[in-house]
């Protein structure tokens, strides 16, 4: 494959970032926005082309005679050499999941670029302050995210991992004059930074034992005769595991070092993908502009954790303990987030928790995937869900953005009954809700069902648990839907225009994404993506009984939501009064933020930093100052020696001379 297009895919957004960042203020808003969107459009085309080439060209570097998809290193360039073996190379790695991610990222990103042209201006058409900056940051984000998914080695992943974190920071804090946005961006960065610490240590451990950063050398075996081409291979992963077990210290604190490494890397994923207990940044991240939430905090960046686990999946298979941890963390997070989502008032928060919950689905799906069950269906399901979720969640967020744009508030209490005023938004939002609820034939149905099937293969507890969560998902989404669009008639506050649908730049992405959500379920995903590149017809693994059950659960949940929220009625408050404690805990998100506040503020800040700073100023510095003070004190104390009296001088003289002699004599004796 030619190098030009992959290079352009990375270079264009970087260039757009620098160009818009440095010169954006000199150009008009419209020009900057158009340029940014056009740039993104180009990347979109290039990425689609690349993905198409990868999946369908049938070139020998992409697919072998047995129809197995291969991994292809398009290029790599040494960026920083640590040692002989440990080299960071910047490169472009094509395999099923990176090709899929290219599509996802560029699609959503382009939609968001387009959408923002309409969103980032007020009703009079005046662009927001910093519009150019917004596009520059979007380009930076796209660059980082693309770099992340095509990384051929784990260190490049880490590099771009940090960069997406930074662009997320910049975008969450886009409204930097708002203190809440500032603190939300800070929180997001620091929480993910903390997680990245684990990731970094994990990389260090893995690379020390494994002796390489390259994914191809960690999880795949090279294909004979084709440079840069490799195929996922459990043998290689076993070889890596052997390097761990053969070392002098294969076990650390009761777990194998490989498990430690993988869990530490997963810690990084937990941070980025907002798994409990590192999820707290994501709801706050909704302070950013809504397109940003759609792009970064729903569709792309937050699934980076899932993506990374998928990338290292053969290694995780070596240590099922690590996979179990992933399953448990995912399952707990999914349930927790669904609970919380049921009571939130802010529509973006509901969507945020729903995102957390859905990403947890993907994590669980990876955690339960085993090659021996349905050919690793969980892996494919996870990726499939990643794909469909990206589409419908972006749709939901963009829809929410349209609502917020129209109403000027995030709160559903300010909305109600908007279905007549904003039909396009209404219908697309409904499609999104149906997709996420898992109603046939929308895309979510297929992907979620496969996740549940693979859970069933793992254990029936996991299956039941996740089915419950799936039901809750349908419930809270429709609660949201009804509260926004139904409940009661909309009341426009005095002096405001009645809400209306958005300009085409905003509608087009909604419609497009809604369309995708309708049909994406029929993509033969198993043919394209599987853990070892071996294609299979996933419908063959489709468990209709599972599907029927989950469909029933979803429908029941929707019915319940309809009953409770379609029309204004006292049922919700009755429910709330029936379980006040549960409601309060859910409403306050189980007090995770307060707990973190307590740990960071009271413990780290007040009990570590402050005392340390005090210690530094008073003890360490005090000691240094004490040298000076003591010297001065001594100087003052021996002042009487120089009394000005000759006789005293002579007396000291004599004592000195005698002492000199006497002490020497004593020493000699």
């Amino acid at each position: 494959m030619e190098m030009t297009i992959p290079v352009l895919i990375l270079a264009i957004p970087l260039f757009m970032f620098l160009f818009l960042g440095l010169l954006g203020m000199k150009m008009s808003h419209k020009l900057a926005g158009t340029l940014g969107t056009l740039g993104m459009g180009t990347i979109l085309v290039l990425s689609y082309y690349t993905a198409f080439q990868y999946f369908f060209s049938g070139a020998p570097e992409f697919i072998n005679a047995a129809g197995e998809r291969l991994q292809y290193l398009v290029f790599d360039q040494t960026w920083l050499q640590f040692t002989e073996k440990l080299v960071i190379k910047v490169g472009f790695f094509l395999d099923p999941i990176s090709a899929m991610m290219l599509v996802v990222i560029t699609t959503i990103s382009f939609m968001v670029h387009l959408y923002s042209m309409g969103y980032m201006r007020d009703h009079h058409g005046v662009y927001e302050h910093g519009f150019q900056r917004f596009y520059a940051f979007l380009s930076l984000f796209s660059f980082s995210m693309l770099g992340l998914v095509v990384a051929p080695n784990i260190f490049q992943t880490y590099i771009f991992w940090e960069l997406v974190g930074a662009s997320s920071y910049l975008l969450i804090g886009f409204y930097y004059t708002k203190p809440s946005a500032v603190s939300a961006s800070k929180k997001a960065f620091i929480v993910t930074r903390f997680a990245d610490l684990g990731f970094l240590i994990g990389i260090l451990v893995l690379s020390y034992y494994g002796g390489t950063f390259n994914f191809a050398e960690l999880t795949s075996a090279p294909v004979e005769g084709l440079a840069g081409v490799s195929q996922v291979s459990l043998g290689t992963a076993e070889g890596i595991k052997a390097m761990f077990t053969n070392s002098a210290a294969p076990v650390f604190m009761g777990a194998s070092v490989l498990t430690w490494a993988l869990v530490l890397i997963f810690m990084g994923c937990m941070g980025k993908s907002a798994m409990m207990p590192l999820h707290i940044w994501l709801p706050d991240a909704m302070e950013g502009p809504t397109p940003v939430s759609a792009l970064i905090h729903a569709a792309t960046m937050v699934v980076a954790g899932v993506y990374l686990v998928a990338r290292l999946f053969p290694l995780y298979l070596m240590e099922t303990a690590a996979l179990d941890i992933i399953t448990v963390v995912g399952a707990l997070t999914a349930f927790y987030a669904a609970m919380v989502a049921c009571v939130q008032v802010d529509i973006k928060r509901v969507l945020a928790f729903s995102t957390i919950s859905q990403i947890a689905f993907m994590m669980v799906s990876l955690g339960v995937a085993r090659p021996e069950f349905h050919e690793g269906l969980g892996y494919m399901a996870s990726m499939f869900h990643l794909f469909t979720h990206a589409m419908f969640k972006a749709l939901l967020f963009l829809g929410a953005g349209a609502l917020i744009h129209a109403i000027g508030s995030n709160d559903y209490t300010a909305m109600h009954g908007l279905r007549k005023y904003m039909p396009i938004t209404h219908w697309t939002f409904l499609i999104g809700c149906l997709a996420i609820a898992g109603i046939i034939p929308f895309s979510g149905f297929f992907s979620k069902d496969e996740i549940l099937s693979s859970c069933l293969g793992y254990s029936w507890v996991a299956y039941l648990w996740m089915s419950l969560v799936a039901g809750m998902t349908a419930f809270y989404m429709f609660r949201l839907y009804y509260l926004i669009f139904w409940w009661k008639e909309h009341e426009t506050p005095e002096g405001h225009h009645a809400p209306h649908d958005q300009p085409w730049t905003m509608s087009l992405p909604l419609i497009f994404l809604a369309a995708v959500s309708c049909v994406a379920g029929f993509i033969p995903f198993g043919e394209l993506v599987s853990w070892n590149g071996h294609p299979y017809d996933f419908m063959a693994h489709f468990d209709w009984s599972v599907a029927a059950v989950s469909l029933c659960v979803a429908v029941a949940a929707i019915v319940l939501a309809t009953v409770m929220y379609r029309k204004e009625n006292p049922l919700p408050s009755k429910m709330r009064n029936a379980l006040p404690a549960l409601w309060t805990w859910c409403y306050h998100r189980f007090y995770w933020d307060e707990l973190y506040m307590f740990i960071t503020h009271s413990i780290i800040f007040r009990s570590v930093c402050r005392p340390l700073a005090w210690f530094d100023r008073h003890i360490i510095d005090g000691t240094m100052d004490a040298f000076a003070t003591v010297t001065n004190k001594v100087s003052e104390a021996i002042k009487p020696l120089q009394s000005g009296q000759i006789q005293m001088y002579v007396w000291y003289y004599l004592i000195g001379a005698l002492a000199l002699g006497v002490v020497t004599i004593l020493c000699l004796l």
Binding site: V634, I638, L641, V650, Y653, A657, L660, G661, I665, L668
Partner: protein, 492 residues
């Protein structure tokens, strides 16, 4: 008697000639020409110094022992005398304005005559190889100084300083001579050489006491702690020119004489007796000198304590007991002469112009008298041992020389000395701070110092800048030291 022996005393004789000419000029020339006396004596001293250097260059200052071994001269000794001569020339140059001032009208000549006599005494101290000659040198180096200290008749402090000086000096020489009498009793001779050989297999309590007394006697001249207590008062009370003379020339001569006596007389008991005494004295001297210097506000008193602590550093060259140490010590003395005289030059210039000697009066001096301040700053930096000024090199070499001795104890000693440099840096910086950083209005207005003062400062500042960077000074001193007859005594 072989009168040709006197030829060995070329430098002493030259000095005597200078003395006589100055004396004759002072006595017999008409009053109108008296103002030229300072210039006259400076020219004569310059000639004497130049003659010394010429004889060095002609290679005629080989080692000569004259007067039945009572007197010795060698290239090193000629060099140290030359160094002292240079110092004296600068002192004289800086004192012209003061000497030609109102108060000195009647006593101008006395200053020069007394000064030359003390210098002669110092020559004898350095060259003596017999204690009688030494004591004559010592006394003629110290007694006239008392008169010089008292020269400023109108200031009470001057008298008080003189009394303090003469009484303590006589006391110390009594103790010194007591020690000598013990040595004489133990060894039966006052020749250095004889005592040296007599001591090679002798060690008793009396000897230790005797050595302690002898050290205290010379320590007094060098102002080693605890024999230093006169220093500050006398430096403060004496006229500034006398103080500067006292602080550099007298100290330099005593330091060298000390080395001679310790090496050539008490060498055999070095490691047993006086090495440890010197350790104690050095530590005490440097530390106490520094501690006192911190609090001083009077510039002269401040420099007195600074010179006390500098004496401790000079002693590091003695304790090394090797050629490197000796060379480093001589180099240190030379650099110290230049640095300290630069400081005294500034103090003298300011005192002559305004009568102010307090550090508080120096605040903001840079704004009114930038050149003087820069000269003072360079002097302070040099004294503190900051590169690229000469003081850095002299400190570095004296430490290098000391460590050449090789024992672990010397490392500890040098470490203590080095830590003390921090304290000394502190108080030297206080002066710099007062002049440069203080934002107050300066009480000393702008003034133009006299030509001689400026010339003196230029010379000293030039020395501070060049003595270190130009390596031949130290190198030639070390070369001299390595071939000096003293090496024989270092070997032990």
């Amino acid at each position: 008697m072989d009168y040709s022996q006197f030829l060995a005393m070329k430098q002493e004789i030259a000095l005597l000639v200078v003395f006589l000419l100055v004396f004759l000029y002072d006595t017999f020339m008409p009053k109108s020409t008296q103002k030229a006396l300072p210039a006259f004596s400076i020219i004569l001293m310059l000639l004497a110094t130049a003659a010394g250097f010429c004889s060095h260059c002609l290679g005629s200052d080989t080692t000569v022992v004259a007067f039945a071994g009572m007197y010795e001269t060698s290239a090193v000794i000629a060099a140290i005398k030359g160094i002292l001569n240079i110092g004296v020339v600068i002192v004289l140059l800086q004192s012209i304005k003061w000497a030609n001032g109102e108060s000195m009208l009647m006593r101008r000549g006395e200053f020069y005559e007394l000064l030359l006599v003390t210098l002669f005494g110092m020559y004898l101290m350095i060259s003596a190889r017999h204690f009688l000659v030494f004591i004559i040198g010592l006394e003629s180096a110290s007694l006239p100084l008392a008169a010089m200290v008292a020269l400023d008749k109108n200031r009470y402090e001057s008298h008080e300083a003189a009394v303090k000086y003469i009484l303590t000096a006589v006391f110390s020489s009594a103790v010194f001579m007591m020690g000598l009498s013990f040595v004489y009793g133990l060894t039966g001779s006052l020749y250095f050489e004889n005592i040296y050989f007599a001591l090679t297999n002798q060690l008793n309590m009396l000897l230790v006491i005797a050595i302690a007394f002898v050290i205290s006697g010379i320590g007094f001249k060098l102002s080693l702690v605890p024999f230093h207590l006169w220093t500050a008062d006398v430096y403060q009370g004496a006229p500034t020119s006398v103080t500067s003379y006292l602080s550099v020339i007298s100290k330099g001569a005593a330091a060298f004489a000390f080395l001679v006596i310790l090496a050539q007389v008490f060498g055999p008991v070095y490691s047993k007796v006086w090495e440890w005494m010197l350790y104690a004295l050095i530590i005490l001297t440097i530390t106490v000198g520094n501690l006192f210097a911190i609090r001083q506000r009077n510039m002269k008193r401040f420099l007195a304590f600074s010179s006390v602590s500098q004496a401790g550093y000079i002693m590091l060259g003695v304790i090394a007991m090797n050629a490197m140490g000796m060379a480093a010590m001589m180099y240190y003395i030379l650099v110290y002469i230049f640095s300290n005289l630069a400081a005294f030059g500034v103090i003298g210039a300011i005192e002559n112009a305004t009568g102010k000697v307090s550090m508080d009066d120096y605040r903001g001096l840079y704004k009114t008298n930038p050149r003087l301040s820069v000269a003072m700053m360079l002097a302070m930096f040099s004294l503190a041992g900051i590169p690229p000024f000469a003081g850095f090199f002299s400190k570095f070499f004296i430490f290098t020389g000391a460590i050449n001795q090789g024992s672990v104890a010397i490392y500890v000693l040098v470490l203590i000395a080095l830590i003390n440099t921090i304290i000394s840096l502190y108080y030297y910086l206080l002066v710099v701070k007062a002049m440069f950083i203080s934002e107050e209005e300066c009480v000393i207005g702008w003034f133009r110092s006299s030509f001689s003062e400026r010339l003196g400062l230029w010379i000293t500042v030039g020395g501070i800048l060049l003595l270190g960077l130009v390596s031949c000074v130290y190198s030639s001193l070390l070369n001299l030291a390595e071939v000096s007859p003293m090496n024989m005594y270092f070997m032990s």
